[in-house]
Symmetry: C2
């Protein structure tokens, strides 16, 4: 049975453990073993030493997994959660199968403009978007920085977008389940 | 001569090319070859195909590099630039030497609270920090999500913090040069 590292800001939900269990059950339904990141409940220690222990165990889980499914829903800003982005890159470097999804369908450039956009007085060309500090806002019709969808694309992976209700932004599993369906189809066609 | 991939939001500066050249010159001063990410000026095409071409070339540059030096200064939110975080993870997965720096010394939890903090009415323990949606704010005294400094630590890398003036947040090279000094010392002690 192939295993999936379940990357995402889901670990910050008030009921993170239940959220992880729900994802693991869905993984089972589609024939996968879900690996949910370690949270700090299970560890002694505090501060930096605890943080580094969690990081070490999560890296080991990613090493062990065959697949990463990253929840790339924007988190406290226009981009995905920082830890999730690092983990997606790590999985890419380790040659894992990459999959990701986002529960916000609005393109990255629109969301960045909404939160940090300026008057475009700094723009060097009529079509260039800039933020309030005059720094370029990339505008490729993608859903995050180009390295993210680019990396998934380069790896021949799966990326699903879906528009959730605001209140279900971090809990809606529609897109996650779609990823699992695609993964199952891929595995079935490889096995055939 | 060891080569360094220069990851960071520097590519979004209005004078990105000059900013890259300044970093490359500093690299040379310390005996390294600096590799600055490709920008879209050199590419034909538009939209997704252009984005994916840039992503492919940046991934190839990271493959080629011996070392990554990531500018992890907070960018449009409490965390570092999304592309930079992905690239740091990719370099970790590829077994490169990892180094990073930030031009903002304030801890991650304080900055996250400032931008997204709530009343902590959702907190499950007296010491837990939560954001305005009730999601946990991690509080380990680090400078970003624990996977970032954790990964650099796991890899035996270098991480430098520095407090720049606000107006020089993305251009101040003090911490970057400190990283280069540390890297040179490491290389010299390995060569001895």
């Amino acid at each position: 049975m192939k295993s999936i590292y379940l990357a995402g800001p889901d670990v910050f939900l008030p009921d993170a453990r239940q959220a992880g269990d729900a994802k693991k059950r869905l993984c089972q339904t589609y024939g996968f073993e879900g690996l949910f990141p370690i949270d700090n409940d299970v560890h002694p220690g505090a501060g930096e030493s605890l943080a580094f222990a969690i990081s070490r165990e999560n890296e080991a889980l990613i090493q062990r997994a065959d697949i990463i499914v990253a929840n790339l829903t924007p988190f406290r800003g226009p981009s995905a959660d920082a830890g999730t982005l690092y983990e997606l890159g790590l999985a890419r470097g380790l040659g894992k199968f990459l999959a990701g999804y986002t529960n916000v369908a609005t393109p990255f450039s629109n969301r960045t403009r909404q939160m940090f956009g300026g008057s475009d007085e700094h723009a060097r060309t009529p079509s260039e978007l800039t933020d309030r500090d005059g720094l370029t806002i990339e505008d490729f019709g993608l859903h995050d920085n180009l390295m993210i969808e680019g990396g998934i694309h380069q790896a021949g992976g799966i990326f699903i977008t879906h528009q959730s209700h605001d209140s279900e932004r971090y809990t809606d599993l529609t897109a996650f389940e779609q990823v699992l369906k695609h993964l199952k189809n891929r595995m079935d066609s490889v096995a055939r």
